[in-house]
Symmetry: C2
Subunit: 341 residues, 2 copies
């Protein structure tokens, strides 16, 4: 088996740490592991597969001996450093939003559109967390019944905003219990005991960038003909996003057929026995790989309507795991080289 | 001005306490105030308008001197006691789900269908919290543009399950911070740092009773022709429900016209300036009377589509305030008597 020199960029962030541990956990064929982060962290130590690794600075020159670099360092760092890493010979799988909508760059969920990897030119984008879990659940339904429209409302965890947001929620909850004044830094409003209909920045059309990511990324990866309307909401959950998804298909279906389809779908686990109060829950999905689907029921308010409740760990399948699965797919498809053109 | 002998049944519950304080706050013409609850609470004292009132047992015989009784004692108590109260001469405004779908019984939101009060026979039902705030926001839009379909996802506060649920959330959050084992009694799963797609019991069709209330109550109060699909979700918020509402209208509209319409609508306050991060928030709505509407934006995934974010205090407009407003409307319309038939 081929072995690879792997780098994780943003290695000390919430997603970077997940990437490192998932690479070990899934026994990715790592020859050498390079942990890269901002200069301030140079010399810190972090673990890979039980071994301490010294963190180095992510900068030009750091990628000459790297085959695959998993980036989770934010859009700005990625815009400047990813092209350099590619030039230095690495394949970059980037978790930021920087390159996702570039028509030259594959945006990939291995369960949804692995074929898009074939034309990669060294840089591959990892989709947004809320889109990944939605499309893993909807892909088999679309293949069989052709989805026409999606209306989705999200219930997103604070870990999607990084370690500082987790700390802010903890701190606010503690101050609430202690009867102290609560302040906010990461979010524009208190997140503890609240629901913020605001993720990422607002755009001209009144939607947030997070909402429009769900529209555009669905078009790029699944089908540009699907109409998508999204409302994305941050709630005081630490890990795992939940989504209430309403769809409308071209072709008629039986709900039991959809359940069977989802039970067989890669990356999906159906939890749907309401008589025993069994449905997907953010708390239970945390630390798991699967996209959990439940509350599967016909929506009779429209022809061929269906409601679903979809939950997945936003740091794993929503970010780090999907990136590692892209790397695995590249290895399987013998695509760990930059095509000549 | 006529003065009325008023009773609050379930006076020591979360909604009962709100009813009592809202009656005082809005200067409802109360001649005498009777606070009724289960026998175990007999003799406890509670405040009305700064005066201590002795709680009596809610039972047959307690309503002979009562003109208007506001019930918030649960469906079971209401089924047995409300007809007795009516026979004893009181007009009952009942906050439980017991009578809502009875075709003989008016189900009323004063801003939506006050005319339904005209035919009351002594018992009037107060709608479900999540339906009230949705319909207050949608009524002016329906009147002008005719709503065809609603897809709604809710973000509901634990106070909707009563005082014990508020205590459960507090306790779970505290145990989480202390690193102690968390248990659940009110909810089937941990509510702290979680999202439960489960409110009220599950029905045969896979929907919860809460979800079907939003369907049936919309049909009864606004228009039976409107198609409704609901997903109702409990989140770790103490007070105020939030709702992501997607609608489709018959007639075309300009978003600016809808905003103007809502700005003039009774009971509605528009908060919608995303450039300054202004949108309705559960925390800010707590203790307020209005239904707050924001994130008003066109949904281009369908003809005449619109998205809204609607937030209101579930204990006030969602329960106690609406019941008091029904009583006020009865007074204004001179309907505080039981029609002869």
């Amino acid at each position: 088996m081929n072995m690879y020199n792997v780098a994780v960029v943003g290695a000390l962030g919430a997603v970077g740490r997940e990437m490192t541990s998932i690479l070990a956990e899934r026994k990715f064929p790592v020859r050498t592991m390079k942990l890269l982060d901002i200069e301030a962290y140079e010399g810190q130590e972090s673990l890979f597969n039980g071994t301490s690794v010294r963190v180095q600075t992510a900068r030009a020159g750091a990628f000459t001996d790297v085959d695959i670099a998993l980036f989770s360092a934010g859009a700005e760092a990625s815009l400047s450093l990813a092209p350099i890493a590619v030039k230095e010979g690495a394949i970059v799988i980037d978790n930021s939003s920087a390159w996702r909508m570039d028509p030259q760059i594959p945006l990939v969920i291995p369960e949804v559109n692995p074929q898009a990897l074939k034309t990669h030119k060294g840089l591959i984008a990892n989709p947004n967390c809320s889109t990944i879990q939605m499309l893993v659940a909807l892909k088999p339904i679309h293949d069989r019944y052709t989805i026409k429209r999606i209306v989705v409302s999200t219930y997103q965890a604070v870990s999607g905003s990084g370690q500082k947001a987790i700390e802010e929620l903890h701190e606010q909850v503690k101050k609430y219990l202690d009867g102290e004044k609560i302040s906010s830094r990461v979010y524009p409003h208190q997140i503890a005991f609240n629901a913020l209909p605001h993720i990422d920045v607002f755009l001209e059309n009144g939607y947030t960038k997070e909402e429009m990511k769900m529209v555009h990324e669905t078009h790029k990866m699944l089908d540009p003909a699907i109409k998508v309307s999204a409302t994305t909401v941050r709630i005081p959950v630490i890990r795992s996003h939940s989504e209430a998804i309403n769809i409308e298909t071209e072709k008629p279906f039986e709900v039991s057929e959809v359940v069977e389809l989802l039970q067989q779908a890669p990356g999906v686990q159906v939890i749907d026995d309401v008589r025993s109060n069994a449905y997907p829950l953010a708390l239970n999905a945390a630390g798991k790989d699967e996209v959990f689907v439940g509350r599967i029921r016909r929506d009779s308010s429209v022809d061929n309507g269906l409601n679903l409740w979809v939950v997945s760990d936003n740091l794993r399948k929503g970010a780090a795991l999907n990136a590692v699965q892209i790397a695995e797919t590249l290895v399987q498809q013998q695509l760990v080289h930059i095509p000549a053109n």
